[in-house]
Amino acid sequence: MSNAPLQLQNLCKNYGALRVTDDVSVNIEAGELHAIIGPNGAGKTTLIHQISGLAQSDSGRIIFDGQDVTKLPMSERARLGLVRSFQITSILPRFSALENVALAVQARSGSSFNFFGNAAAEPKLNDTAMTLLARFGLAGRASVPAGQMSHGEKRQLEIAIALAAQPKLLLLDEPLAGTSHDESQRLINTLQELRRELPIVLIEHDMDAVFALADRVSVLVYGRIIASGTPQSIRDNAEVRAAYLGEEAA
């Protein structure tokens, strides 16, 4: 019996006749940053959807923090501390950056079935949110509507929101997608800090980032994990090179 915080056991998912997740079993150990890589269409985002609860699995089990969460909706998994970010930036565009984060703080602090009092003026929520924004270099942008921020800022905000929800494990779906070189450098630095605080599952296309950050890497091809191991062993794996890395290099 493993006590890994996140255990995927024989997960499957079909869309019609198409099997997008095929018998995926992997344990995410405490304290590790586990990267999942694979060519486009390998089913990486679907897997994150299944783990986070946005998509339900057809079979298999997901054990999080010692609890079977396979059938739980996304909101309940989030409350248990299994929190995700989105590949396509998913923020509340008309809310200020501060309110985006404060709302996630609110989710884990007291009841939200509270019909009186001005939520936007609650110091307890705003102070925590402000601290998080500051950590991501967004303190000066707190009152800007999130929809009007730059792409790189939105990617930072996305992670700040996820952290505000008090995760015990973080699922990051291509946090570097579409960022400039400088922005992605900044995000990589952020992730370097975060990996010391909690286990992270990272989906990423940027191989330099993956090999710089990951403790372990799993390679997903056509919904199957074809290899799992240290970055070095993955780099040296012939099957992986044929299926995936070779393609990238060519």
Partner: protein
């Protein structure tokens, strides 16, 4: 997955909501509106008082129902096309109790609230399982269901409706017979509902509701289950609309299944879009413009709907954000 199934968010009023409002300016327009309403009976003494009182009372009742719908559509992105059903429930609560000799206003109001609560809970629980177009149509159908129930209640007038023996009594007194008293009672309810809803949309609950309007998936991802919040808002809105039905029955001293038709629900949506979605006081402005327009046009021609319909189309096509948007009432 679509980020927002219900409401297009490109209206200026909606744009304003997420950002903390600069206090002060936001409250100027509502303050003016309520001050005007408070003074109407005094001003009306200079003219045809009973006509003006009746008209403005009607406007305030319409505004009350529309404002509750604004909580759903403007803040919660739930396009309910059956909101008039609750107005009908409130009105029939008064009329049916009255026909059995129970005229006490508090009992009638209590029953109306209870019935609205139950109907909202039942229909909301089913409707909110669906999304987008399905939600619009299922609410519409539930409203229509109530309409047909009304028409088949032979004991209570059926199709023809039911005339009230008397207006509600308060503490045994027939004080509501006085149109000015009724006016201020309606005014009180409108002001009370406005303050209540203003509080709710700014509260923790309201912020979650607004967040769900913006991006339900994001809200789930940080741990909020949209269904419970939406259902709660649906019930609150239904109960407020039920109150407006109580007042309507007292004002017209008559109820009819026609109160609950989907055309009435459509009128309510028209009113809040006309006044500007997601601002609450927009519902009041919309109700005033809607009623005055209908009143004035019907003075000139019996075919006033020939003008009214195109106005609605033009507002949708060209005046997004409604009158509130045109007045620049955004913070």
């Amino acid at each position: 997955m679509s980020v927002n199934n219900f409401v297009d968010l490109d209206t200026p009023a909606a744009a304003a909501l997420g950002v903390p409002a600069r206090p002060g300016r936001v409250f100027v327009l509502p303050l003016v509106v309520f001050a005007l309403f408070a003074l109407v009976p005094l001003l009306a003494m200079q003219g045809p008082q009973s006509f003006i009182l009746a008209l403005v009372t009607r406007i305030m009742i319409l505004a009350l129902a529309a404002m509750s719908l604004d909580l759903l559509i403007g803040y919660g992105a739930m396009i309910s096309f059956g909101h008039a059903a609750f107005v009908g429930l409130g009105a029939y609560s008064v009329a049916i109790l009255s026909s059995h000799g129970i005229n006490d206003g508090f009992i009638q109001l209590g029953v109306a609230l209870a019935v609205s609560f139950l109907f909202a809970l039942f229909t909301g629980a089913i409707s909110l399982r669906t999304k987008g177009v399905y939600f619009i149509m299922i609410t519409l159908a539930f409203g229509q269901m109530l309409y047909f129930l009304g028409t088949s209640l032979a004991a209570y007038g059926g199709d023809d409706g039911l005339t009230l023996a008397s207006r509600s009594t308060l503490f045994g007194s027939k004080i509501l017979k006085n149109d000015i008293v009724l006016y201020y009672v309606v005014f009180g309810f409108l002001l009370g509902a406005y303050l209540l809803l203003r509080g709710i949309v700014a509260s923790r609950f309201g912020r979650v509701l607004r967040g769900i309007r913006e991006n339900p998936v994001r809200m789930e991802a940080i741990g909020f289950a949209p269904y419970r919040y939406q259902l709660t808002a649906y019930v609150i809105a239904g109960m407020i609309a039920g109150v407006s039905g109580c007042l309507l029955a007292n004002q017209t001293e008559f109820v009819s299944p026609a109160f609950t038709t989907w055309q009435r629900s459509g009128d309510l949506i028209f009113v809040i879009v006309l006044g500007g979605l997601g601002s609450l006081h927009g519902a009041i402005i919309g109700a005033a413009v809607f009623s005055l327009l209908a009143d004035i046009l019907s003075h000139y021609t019996e075919h006033w709907a020939l003008i009214f319909g195109p106005i609605l189309i033009l507002v949708v096509l060209y005046a997004r954000g409604g009158i509130g948007g045109l007045l620049g009432s955004k913070p």
